[in-house]
Amino acid sequence: MTEPKPDNSRLKIRLRGVHKRFGSKIVLDGLDLDVGVSESVVVIGGSGTGKSVMLKCILGLLQPDKGSIQVDGEEVVGMSAAAREEINRKFGMLFQGGALFDSLPVWENVAFGLLAEKKVTRLEAREIAISKLAQVGLGGEVGDLSPAELSGGMQKRVGLARAIASDPEIIFFDEPTTGLDPIMADVINDLIVKTTRQMGATALSITHDMASARKIANRIAMLYEGKIIWAGPTENIDSSGNLYVEQFINGRAEGPIKMAVRA
């Protein structure tokens, strides 16, 4: 990475030398990443390169084998369970597969974090949930359905509403626009921009959708073979001078990145 490092005290998330392997398969191999306060960083990278694993390591859902992860300057690797719970209140997360609770109606899914923190009554929580659903383009009547009755794209949007419902300081979006039509994808991009720019939240997103990445990111980082091989401001992405990045953003099969397909 050649870009000037953001000031350390203004870093929301700081990853250094994070390693994670599953059995003999090395997924993260010394990953470094910085996310500044109120910054929106997008991580791009091929399928199966460990982008979701990286988010889960930051959230403590997976334990990294080695390395340091700091949130607001506080080391979170090896933290006690109670302290971890406290830290996790800062986060909202949109899971790649939605991960909606299928035993609860949609509105309770959206309001789950609010109800868990006991900041509001059930009635108020419901109202907040309906307004968050409206922000992702879903009508109030959807609130009473069960998640299994929704289409894949609708589930994604409910997941998004749930991630932003309690106005977290840091939001992770794992492929927010995958499975949405182009118009809805743009609505969601606008919503992400709005939550980060207006509410000052810090966002770390993962996407394969370069149009979305260009729109929501202040900074883009590319993950390849367990490391960040390039990171820089969004406007520099087309002049990165990095062959891997160029191949990826132009979606070419030929280049330094080899897909493991045997014809």
Binding site: L59, L61, M93, F95, A99, F101, F112, A116
Partner: protein
């Protein structure tokens, strides 16, 4: 040499599993006394485990009571000791058959559904999602189910006791021609509080075992639909085996004086 290595590996795997299970149990139980509590969840699972298991448990108990009366009649009639049938029925049902039959039946019903539900939540990342929504998944998913299991199993077994004794009464009176008043009188005379209590204590232990096994295997399942299927099987098998082990241990504790 290779054989020794195999034994060593199996033994280590066993210790690992036992250790994980103990840690899991300790965590789940310690969450019982730490807020927040989830009364809604506890009630929901009490209803599911207690109320909706009644048909299964009732049917098992009534047939067990009927068979017991019939079979002990054919046995005791040889010694002209038909008079003790009422005692045999009531003591066998309350002490032994009520808890163990109800336990095994409900192990199939509840153990399997707990493992499948929690296992599906695990593989669809719903358990991870709970963590990111300021909720401890142990406390939210496991502890309410354990509480419901430990409280509702004794209730189910109590009902099973009554229905089972009634089954014995029906066969004795309508098939074997006993005098109803005498039968009820001798049932009543021989029954002691200890018989029923020991059965209820067993039931509480079995309730703990069934819900714990369902939750443990579901919580640790991995690898999609197949993983959930394996977790379900393991939950029912391990719960059934543990029930039978503890059945003996508890009987020994209560009655081998």
């Amino acid at each position: 040499m290779r054989f020794l290595r195999l034994i060593g590996r199996v033994f280590l795997a066993f210790l690992g599993t036992a250790g994980r299970l103990i840690l899991f149990t300790a965590d789940a139980v310690s969450q019982c006394v730490r807020p927040p509590f989830y009364p809604r969840m506890i009630l929901r699972h009490m209803l599911d485990i207690g109320y909706f298991s009644l048909p299964v448990v009732g049917l098992t108990a009534i047939f067990a009571g009927m068979v017991l009366a019939l079979q002990s009649y054919t046995g005791f009639a040889r010694f002209s000791a038909e008079g003790v049938i009422a005692n045999v029925v009531v003591i066998s049902i309350t002490r032994e058959l009520g808890p163990v039959l109800a336990g095994l039946m409900v192990a199939g019903r509840i153990g399997a559904s707990l493992a499948a539900e929690i296992g599906t939540m695990r593989v669809t990342e719903q358990i991870d999602a709970l963590t990111t929504l300021s909720t401890n998944p142990m406390k939210y998913l496991v502890t309410p189910r354990l509480i419901a299991g430990v409280t509702m199993f004794p209730f189910l077994v109590f009902i099973a006791d009554i229905i089972g004794v009634f089954g014995g009464y029906v066969v004795a009176v309508y098939k074997l021609g006993f005098n109803p008043a005498n039968y009820i009188q001798s049932t009543y005379d021989f029954l002691q509080a200890e018989d029923v209590n020991s059965g209820l204590v067993k039931a509480a232990v079995f309730g703990f075992i069934v819900t714990l096994m369902g939750c443990y295997h579901g919580y640790n399942s991995k690898g999609g639909a197949q993983g959930v299927g394996t977790a379900t099987t393991n939950a029912v098998v391990s719960a059934s085996i543990l029930i039978l082990c503890f059945y003996y241990i508890l009987t020994e504790m209560f009655f081998a004086k």
